[in-house]
């Protein structure tokens, strides 16, 4: 069966920790190099906190960041934190339908519950990711492939 090609995955990584950013980049890179992801292209955009991410989404660089993109969100961020960012995102009619995965060290039940109440697509613990770095990339790429975004 010939799978129809999809446009490149645009990933908005909201993360203040440089190492964690690189971790995601490496994971995606490795997944791409492994050749398993046939014909897959991925572009990663960075934002260091919620404010920056919102600015980016609201059109600072609209040309390079098309609307259906996946957002990888850390909970603990300087300035605007993860939950506050989610609240602003859902309150903005233009962005309310964004698909957000939370990727965080926080295992606080309040954070997890709060994130799911703001309709995130998944709450992913960094601990798990560092145990199996390939899995996150696999998940995102598979998600991109199979799921129809808004």
């Amino acid at each position: 069966m010939h799978a129809s090609r999809r446009p490149a995955l645009h990933l908005l990584l909201v993360e203040d920790d440089e190492v964690d950013r690189e971790a995601v980049e490496r994971a995606v890179e490795e997944a791409a190099q492994s050749g398993l992801q046939d014909g897959f292209g991925c572009r990663i955009h960075h934002a260091r906190d919620g404010d920056e991410a919102l600015a980016l989404l609201r059109g600072g660089m609209q040309a390079s960041l098309p609307h259906p993109c996946l957002i990888l969100l850390d909970m603990k961020l300087p300035r605007m934190g993860g939950l506050a960012f989610l609240a602003s995102l859902r309150a903005d009619p233009a962005l309310a339908d964004s698909v957000v995965f939370v990727l965080t060290t926080s295992e606080k039940p309040e954070d997890r519950a709060g994130a799911y109440r703001s309709h995130v697509a998944g709450y992913i613990s960094k601990r798990r990711v560092s145990e199996a770095p390939g899995a996150l990339a696999g998940l995102l790429l598979a998600y991109w492939r199979l799921v129809d975004l808004p």
Binding site: V19, S106, E107, K108, R127
Partner: protein, 1186 residues
Amino acid sequence: MSRSPVVSRYLLSVLLLVLAYLVSGRLGLMLATPPDYATAVFPAAGIALGVLLVGGWRLWPGVWLGAMLLQSMALPETGQPHAWGVAAMIATGSTLQALAGQWLIRRFSGYPQPLQRGWQILLMLLLGGPVSCLVSSSTGVAVLGWMGVLPDDALTWNWLTWWAGDSLGVLTFMPLVLCVAGQPAEEWRRRRWTVGLPVLASFCLAVAVFLWVDGAERQRIAQEFQTEAAAYAQALRAEVSQTIDITEALASHGGAAGSVGRSDFTRMYQRNMRSLDSIQALAWVPRVPADQRAAFERAARAEGLASHDPRVVAAMRDYAIRVSPGGAAAGAQEDGEHYPYLFLEPLASYPDALGLDLAASSERRDAVLAARDRGQTMMSPPISFRVGDGKSKGVLIVSPVYRGDIVPASLAGRRRELAGVIVSVLRIDRVVSNALPSLQVRGVGLEILDEAGTMPLHSFFSAQPPAPVTGELRNVVGRPRAEHRFDLGGRAWRLHFEASAQYVLTRQGPVPMLVLLAGMLITALVGGVMLFVSGRMFRTEALAGELVLSGAEISRQAIELSEEVEQRSKTEEALRRSETQLRLLTDSIPALIAYLDCDLRYRFINATYERWCGIPQAQILGMSLEELRGEGFARLRPFVDRVLAGERVMFNTRFHDHSRGIDVDVEASYVPHRQVDGQVVGFFAMGVDTTDRLRAQINQQLAMIVESSSDAIIGIDADGLITAWNPAAERLYRYSASEAVGQPLGMLMSEARRKAFETSMAAIRARQRVEQSEAQHRRSDGQPVEVALSMSPIVDESGKVAGAALVIRDIAEQKRAQALLVQAILAAPYATLMTDEQGKVQLANREAERLFGYGRDDFVGMQVEELVPEAHRSAHAELRGGYAQSPRGRAMVGRELKARHRDGTEIPVEIGLSPIDRPEGRVFVAALIDTTTRRLAEQALAERSAALERVNAELARSNRDLDDFAYVASHDLKAPLRAVDNLSSWIEKDAAGVLPEKSQRHLQLLRSRVRRMDRLLDDLLQYARAGQPEGAAEEVDLRELVRELRDLLGPPPGFRLDVVGELPTLRAYRAPLQVVLLNLVSNAFKHHDREQGCVEISVRDQGSHIEVDVCDDGPGVAPEHHERIFGMFQTLRPRDEVEGSGMGLAIVKRTVESHGGSVGVESWSGRGACFRFTWRKLTPSRAEGG
């Protein structure tokens, strides 16, 4: 300020009136007959009058504005220069009409009123309709006539229509307005259905019928027009076609070029064409090839022309082929051919056309070439040409002439052999007026179009008559139109006929207008009749209402009368009955009973009265009191006056009893007899013989008192011998009455008492009462009796002392009670006081002495207020007085009650107060408790518990802080840790080929330490969270829990997890229980020192909790470590050997203890360790309630 709502309400009314006037006026004008200015029915007039009637004449600006706007909309279309002035004048007329109408109606017919009478209705309709409507029609028509809008001969008819229209409008719509808003509202509202609805329905019906009839009429006219237009088209075609035929005939007659000379041509024209005034000109146009042009021009000049017109002569002399009349010489044509006018008739009209090249104008050239090529007569598109000084429109009719008179068969031949063309210029207006001479008269417009041409060939529409908006409704239906089309001379013409309004008007019959008028008349009649009928109805109803009312009054009076009669007969009957009963009753009574009326005449006496008077009853009745009682009346007179004044009187008098012949003391009472209204109409006189009655009564009552008394009552004579001995005395002294009577009273006493008794007897004999004294008497059996006795002398009728009456009471019981009370008070553990009713202390106990600092003797006789602080003394005395009035045992607690010590200090106390009744009077016993120490204790307790609470809160807060700290610390520590892990793993990967093996191993070690740290932090986190409630309590099946445990842990190969005995189900928080078991079991596996091992779980139910053992066969725990292992970060083996944070047991301990359990370890020297913990079972209510 208060005026503004009135003003705005007024403005609103005016505005609404303007709107209503406009809408209804517009409706009325739509029904008008053009070209008449007035309309057959004008509802606005009715609405204006109705609204002014209902809402008052002050609303007139609404009428004026409405009319003004309506007229100014209609008038400009007539093109009148002074339209606004005219409109204003007409509007003023309409306003005056409405004002006049409402004044007339108010003045003569009367309004507001329900209009019940026929003449009122008739007058109202007449005054509002035909009479007042003279105003507007006269004004309006006069103004229109004066301004010239209406021709003089139309004035009368317009005035009539106007007047009739307004009148009908008033007759139809004024009742409608009144039905909606007329006063009095009740009657007019009811008329909505009886008058409003029929009128409205009739109006609508009339309009509908009118529109239907009118539509049919217009249909007929349209059909007529179609027929007429077809005939017109036919005639026109024939006319044009005839011209073409003539031109063609001329062409063929002309034959070969050259065979016809100028004179022949002129003759030909004059013979055939002159009579056809639709042919403006006729010309011979030869074909002149370019190479022959010069020769041709020369020949033409040479030919010359003899004429008396110098212009013609000159034209011929200078003959040259030109592009425009008298203009420059034409240049060479494309195909090298010229078509100049050579012969032209009437030459005098167009001398300068000679030499004009037809080929210079494309449309003329096209017609020429078309005629040449087809060999047929052709027409040109519409052209415009000069006629005299003006211009006219028409077409050229071009007919080809070939050499040799034969139309060559081939196109080439036709082109080669063309000698020239005969051209006639057709003037279209003449064609139309010749063919259709009556068109204009009949009011039919015509437009002729050449389908390929650019300009209309002919356009004529009869002048519109002045058409105001009147008749709009019917104009909407459209004027009749017709289209026709025909082909002639190679061109297609379209004819478009349209009827003018005049056309329609002259043909339409009077039927629709008659229908409308009839309908409106009927509507007005319906309104009038219905008003009349409903008025009659109201009147009838009112009369009927009055009748019913008066009937009801009569019947009510009749009923009252009959009731009264019945009442009276009943009363009489009752009176008779009561008199009989009274007699029966009173006759048997041994008292005097009589009834006297207010004239003091006897009306009733009973048998006793009759007997005492010694006169027959019949004789006494009717006698006056004075007659019967003689001089005795004077004594009675004041009492009689009082009873007649309404007072109840009792008095003693004397009455002579004739039957016994003695005067008798009589207690008389007069009772007034009142009627319902309070008037005294007589009185009852009653007299009772008091001599006998009193005596008997006293004796009897005394006997009864004595008999039933609980005190012993003894009568003695003057010698001290007992004469009376009541049952109480029998009980007290154990002597029967028969035993005691006749014995000396002294037998009850000791020798000493007898002496004392003698002194009492002496007092009695001196007629003195002996007050209560206590004594000891002896019973019949010799036992002493404690008594209290009092003695009263008995005096006989002669006034001598006949003996004495003794009242004796047994007081033994009271004495005992008193002794008991005193004992109780003295022995009471509280300060206790006893006071009398006046507040004097009678007794105080030792505790009271201690409390107040007084000696026992100091107390006696002390006023109780002295024991109260000075500030409260007067209040206390008052309170005590109030309490003495309604004494109840009560405790006085919690108040700021203070007692005063002898030294003046105040002591807080609680007081219990109880009244006790004693023979010598009521006493009060007060028990006081010194609350000083208790208050101090309470205060200390409160302080201690507050401190405890503060400590607790502090503790809770610091626990919370600790939790938060542990959580945040572990979390924040983990983030950099993972970065280290990531980075080292990347280095490992990226530099796999570069790094020496040793460094790679170091990296691995680095990462394993990182993982350890991570786990440590996890466990720390779990520890921190241990004891925090998670989830809700539920029924936990331990078998299930252990099964899950096995799945979670996955015992390493060679190891088993066993269950010993049964596992119960209990109500508990599931998660913490699982944490505990998980840690214990995983610990057991982790620390095992052999290849194979077994962990056993057993559970014992201990009622309120369960006891769980987790035992392993591992290396065991040395007793010295038993305490340590439950601490944080404690482990007994190196970290590199056994991966562990050393937190597992700490978590277990904290979790178990926070759920109210305990945990411990047992280990035997050698092998195995057994961890035992307890876990509380929750009861459902506790779990939910908590």
